[in-house]
Symmetry: C2
């Protein structure tokens, strides 16, 4: 018996069940009776309801993270953990690799630990093939699920994200408008967010009537995107005759490699080459010159995830999708 | 009833109880009978024994981490999680701040989730005041506890660490032996490991007959150790007349700040100023020039923690304290 079963048996939405459990005034007496009858007809009180019914819960949120060493996710982990703790909630992290089975098992592990809600960290949890997202749908029948930087239309699933497509679009436009015409794009993810970014890059070129040379799109395997490998790849591309007057990257670390290339090739930044990173991470202040980057509002996203989770657990109506707008933070690698 | 209670009631060591549970041949029939009588006399089977008794456990290790955004701990988290997963164990992370109560609660949270063992990440878990370490002693009565980069003499507690004192000692000696005489030491932790490092710095000076100028020891609050704050502090120290010909830091990020200072002050690295970091983190390849740093063997430490935990859970006799030796990795910031 879970919130989904109760809503189905009572013939009302999950949100309505939540409202009943929280004595919301926005429920008719008739509906309230119908829902309570279903709940009382079952001996079992699912954990997700315990709070609403005034019982003690473990007050724990499960975080599922595909790679805790990824700087973006590691930062998110810290923000989320602190903000949940301020609300009196502990966090249990389960790491997983990106294989479907591992993600399903990660969700099962968290459910078996009776968490009050689950946060799926990063857009790699959403697949194009709808059947591969069933595990999210299943999880959402027991507990609220919040997606960090993704969206998924499903009851009891909430998405909080940055508009990566728009952010990369604006970064690309700023390069085009400063006179750059051949913008090398370095990326190392083809997931949901990765594809949005690439679309932003392409759209900007279309908007300014500049054709995209496909040779300027340069994919790095996650394991092969080290600073020195990026530097060496760019040196080789230059040797092979590829011209580029700017580098835009889907992650700051790839931009660090581009700066290494510029130094090795004797190109001045930003005079001969503009460079823009993504994430506005702590790396940006470490390079020389310091890196212009897109702030993708991770802190605000994490705060909002916690607000959303608390709202859902309190039976409030919360938005299913929230989108933040990124912002280009100019430092020394752009004109 | 826990392993400690059973060993006490049976009048044998915890290791002996473990051996009994694992049908080790190194236990006399008499001892085996005594231990099993105690266990069978109790209805309750503590989780830590379940595996030894052939029952199913949750196969989960609890990781307690004071700050998941710390690059050293975040890297450790990834190594540990992967290595435990390869052994068929899931990891549950609980974050905590450094206050004693928070750490106690973190341990309690993990215990309430029936983990098979606990890893305390980082030396900040050990306090000088012995009474403040009672929570570790308590935890070790239920499950094995392994300390990452710390040691604590107590039954069922295991420490795996790097000899930070020796590593900093050798880094300091290498600077002194290259002709440096005024080595600025930047640090931002006064915990167990932090104090060991400082001792290594002082000892090296004593070994070479160089007096330590206390003005060269520069503490940065965790929140005030940003790259630009370090740069500005060093510029101010120079303006105030402090002379230094090398910078040694307790964390790589502080060295990045020192490199920013050198650039702002027009000092050439390594010709006018040598710089050595600590952790040999991914930052080292991002700076210009690239940073010489002490590799504190985090990967080997994490692998060994997992080996130790698996051994303990299998009832094997494992070393209570394991010490790795750091290694100076020379890059471009030293002569």
């Amino acid at each position: 018996m879970n919130i989904y079963d109760i809503s189905r048996r009572a013939g009302v939405s999950i949100a309505t069940v939540s409202r009943v459990l929280n004595n919301s005034p926005h429920v008719s007496e008739n509906t309230r009776k119908k829902v309570m009858a279903v709940i009382e007809g079952t001996g079992y009180v699912p954990n997700a309801f315990a709070r609403g019914l005034g019982l003690n819960t473990m007050k724990t949120i499960g975080l599922l993270c595909p790679d805790a060493s990824d700087p973006y996710l590691s930062q998110a982990l810290t923000y989320l953990e602190r903000a949940f703790r301020q609300q009196g909630y502990d966090c249990l992290l389960s790491c997983t690799d990106k294989a479907l089975l591992a993600r399903q098992q990660g969700v099962e592990l968290l459910k078996s630990r009776h968490v009050d809600g689950i946060v799926l960290m990063g857009s790699s949890f959403i697949e194009d093939d709808p059947s591969e997202n069933d595990y999210i749908r299943d999880a959402a029948r027991s507990v609220p699920v919040i997606l960090l930087n993704a969206a998924f239309p499903c009851d009891n699933v909430y998405g909080v994200q940055c508009d990566d497509q728009r952010a990369v679009n604006e970064a690309t436009l700023s390069l085009l408008d400063s006179g750059c015409r051949r913008i090398l794009y370095l990326y190392h993810s083809r997931n949901y967010s990765g594809r949005k970014k690439l679309t932003g890059y392409r759209d900007a070129h279309a908007q300014r009537g500049v054709e995209v040379d496909e040779k300027l799109l340069c994919f790095f395997d996650q394991d092969k995107g080290s600073v020195h490998q990026v530097r060496d790849t760019l040196l080789q591309l230059e040797k092979d005759g590829l011209c580029f007057d700017a580098v835009l990257t889907s992650e700051d670390i790839l931009s660090v490699g581009a700066l290494k290339y510029a130094r090795a090739a004797g190109r001045r930044v930003p005079e001969d080459l503009s460079v823009i990173g993504y994430n506005n991470s702590s790396l940006c202040a470490c390079t020389e010159p310091e890196l212009t980057s897109v702030d993708n509002k991770l802190f605000a996203i994490c705060e909002h995830i916690v607000t959303t989770m608390m709202g859902v657990l309190d039976g409030k109506e919360m938005p299913q999708k929230t989108v933040f707008t990124g912002e280009l933070v100019k430092r020394e690698t752009t004109k």
